[in-house]
C-alpha cells in the first residue's frame, strides 16, 4: 500500500542567498515531482521536523525544483544552514495551485508582498514557458525596503518577456527614487485593464488592504485568488490543523482559494 506520509530523498543542488534571511534552494528529488504553480510540498529534516514550502520554480520542470526559505521557525532555521549536496526529505505535491488555465482569455495582475513573491514566481516562470498563449501580465511587488526584495535579478528578463514589473517600498530609503508606500499605491498609479484576474500572496495585513482596493476597482470575488497560510502537519486533509472554520482544508482545497470561496468564512485572513 502506498504511504502518503513517507518522504523521498532530495539533494540540494544549489543554494543562493536571495535577501537577508532568505535563501533559494534548488532540490533534485529521486523521483520527479509533478506540481502546479501554487501547490506546496512538505520538507523534512531528520531530527528537526517537517514544514510546508511553496514551489517557486516553473511547473514545467518536475525533475528539479526550487523553494524560498526564510529563516524564521525551527525547520527553516535548520534548513537555512544546509549546504549544497546535502539531503532533505520531501513529499507532495499537495493542495490546489493557481488556475493558470483561466488565464487563456484573461489578463493577469500579480500582487506580491515580501517573500509572498515565491509561489507567484512559479506562476511567472510557468507563464514565460508558454508566453505567447497568455495575455497581459503585470507584477506589482512591495517590500519593506530594497534589500528585502527577492528575485530582483530576474526582473529585467521578465520585463523583456512582457511582464510589466512595478515595485514599491513601504519605507523611504535615501537613494530610492521609485514608488514609496504600501502596495495599493501601485494599484492607484498603474491602471489595471479590464477582464483581469488577480493573484495575490503576502502577509494577512496586505490582503486586507489589497482586497478592499480590488473591490473598489470592480474586481469580482471569483476574479481574485489568494494563498492562505495555516499550520500543517499531514498535507492530506486528515490531521485537522489547517481546517478553516465552517469549511475547508487549506492543505487539500487550498492553499490557493478564490475570494468568493472563502469570503464568508470567519477568521480566514
Amino acid at each position: 500500500m502506498l504511504n502518503p506520509l513517507l518522504p523521498q530523498r532530495a539533494k540540494i543542488t544549489d543554494v543562493r542567498l536571495e535577501a537577508p534571511q532568505v535563501k533559494v534552494l534548488t532540490l533534485k528529488p529521486r523521483k520527479e515531482m509533478i506540481f502546479e504553480a501554487g501547490q506546496f510540498l512538505e520538507l523534512s529534516l531528520p531530527g528537526v521536523g517537517e514544514a510546508p514550502f511553496a514551489f517557486c520554480s516553473s511547473q514545467y520542470n518536475s525533475n528539479e525544483f526550487q523553494i524560498a526559505v526564510q529563516e524564521k521557525g525551527v525547520v527553516t532555521s535548520a534548513l537555512f544552514h544546509k549546504n549544497q549536496d546535502s539531503y532533505v526529505g520531501v513529499r507532495g505535491p499537495y493542495g490546489r495551485g493557481f488556475p493558470l488555465e483561466k488565464l487563456i482569455h484573461k489578463n493577469l495582475v500579480i500582487i506580491a508582498g515580501g517573500i509572498g513573491l515565491a509561489p507567484l514566481r512559479s506562476v511567472i516562470l510557468s507563464i514565460l514557458h508558454h508566453r505567447s498563449i497568455y495575455k497581459k501580465v503585470q507584477l506589482l511587488y512591495g517590500t519593506k525596503c530594497e534589500e528585502h526584495r527577492i528575485f530582483e535579478k530576474e526582473f529585467p528578463s521578465w520585463q523583456k518577456q512582457g511582464i510589466d514589473v512595478k515595485v514599491t517600498l513601504d519605507q523611504c530609503q535615501p537613494q530610492w527614487k521609485g514608488n514609496i508606500g504600501i502596495i495599493t499605491t501601485l494599484l492607484d498609479k498603474y491602471k489595471t485593464v479590464k477582464h483581469t484576474l488577480a493573484f495575490v500572496v503576502g502577509p494577512p495585513i496586505m490582503y486586507k488592504f489589497v482586497l478592499k482596493k480590488l473591490k473598489k476597482l470592480k474586481f469580482k470575488d471569483d476574479e481574485i485568488y489568494l494563498s492562505l497560510e495555516r499550520r500543517m502537519h499531514c498535507g492530506i486533509g486528515i490531521c485537522q490543523h489547517c481546517s478553516l472554520t465552517n469549511g475547508k482544508y487549506v492543505c487539500k482545497e487550498g492553499p490557493i482559494f478564490s475570494w468568493s470561496e472563502i469570503k464568508n468564512l470567519p477568521n480566514v485572513i
Binding site: 500500500m1 502506498l2 504511504n3 502518503p4 506520509l5 513517507l6 518522504p7 523521498q8 530523498r9 523534512s44 531528520p46 531530527g47 528537526v48 521536523g49 517537517e50 524564521k72 521557525g73 527553516t76 539531503y87 526529505g89 494577512p204 497560510e229 495555516r230 499550520r231 502537519h233 499531514c234 492530506i236 486533509g237 486528515i238 490531521c239 485537522q240 490543523h241 481546517s243 472554520t245 465552517n246 469549511g247 470567519p266 477568521n267
Partner: protein
Amino acid sequence: MDSITYNKFIDWLLLRFDIYGPKQIEGIVRFGKIKFRQDIEYDSKPFYPLRKLFLPNKEELYSYRDKKYQCPNQKKRKRIILGIPLFDLEALTYYSLIFSHDSYFQAKLRNSIICGISPIPDENSFYQEFEDKILHHLKFDLYFDQNKDGSYRLFSGSEEGQKILEGFGEKNYIHIEFEGPPQKADYTTYLQKIAKKIQASYGSLFWKKLGDKCLACGKCTLVCPMCYCYDLQTKGSSQLFREWGNCFYSEFSEVTGNHKFLKNRAERIYNWYDHKFVRMPREYGFVGCVQCGRCIEVCPVGINIKKNLDKIKKFKS
C-alpha cells in the same frame, strides 16, 4: 452458543491468538492485552475507546537510517479484539473510511479480528429486533449478541470470522454482509440541518458562554472514539512520530510568528463541533459522534454535548 461453550471458545482463542479486550487497568476499564479469560471485563462502555489499538497515542512512522527512510515492520501476530461495544464498532467503521489511505492504520486493521458484543439486555430491551439491520452497516468479523439467559446469538461479518467459528466447530451463526456505513432515514437532510444550525450559531453568545466555561483541558478529545487529530513530531531523533493532537490546546493552530487562528477557547470548542457536525458530514457523509456520552462523563465543568446539540437545534438558520 451457551455460556459454557462460549467460555471454551474464548480459551480456544487464547491459545491461538493475541487477545485484546476491555479489562481493569489501574481501576479503569480500557482495552488491553488479555492473558486469562477472567480478565475480560465486559463493560457496555469502557472508559477509554478502542482508538489506541489502531491509532496509538505515539507511533513511529519511519526512521531515517543509512540514507533511507524505513518504516517499522507492520507484520505482527494476528490479534483478536473482544468485547467491543456497538458505538466503538461504529467509530471503527468510520475510522476505516477516514484512514482508508493510511497504511499504518490499515495494517493494524488487517491484523485484527474485530469482535463486537451487545449490551446485556434488560427486561425492556428490544433492540434485537433491529440488530440485524444495524449490523449490516458495521465492520466486524464476529458479533456476540447476548441473550437474557447468558447464551449468545452469533453473527459473522467476514470470511475470516466464519473460518474461526468453523475452526472451533460452531456452525450455528448468521452471516452478515457489510453494506456501507450507517444510514438513518432522512440522514442527510438531518445532518445538513444540524450543520447549517451550527454554522448559523458561530460567534453567538452561546459559544462565548461555552468558551468561558470550558477549561480547554482536552479530556473530551482523549475519550472521544471519533477524535483523530494528529501531530507529526521528530523531537531530536531520526524518527518521525505521529502523536495524538489536541485541538483544545492553543498551539494547535499556531503558525511561525506566534499567530493563532483559533484565538480563544470559544473558537476552539466551536472548532470541535465544527469538525464533528459540519466538516465530517460534508467529507464523509456521517457525523463525528457516536453518542457514547464519554465526553459528558469526563468533563470537569459539566459541558454536555447532548444538551448543547439540543440548544443548537433551536438556532434559526
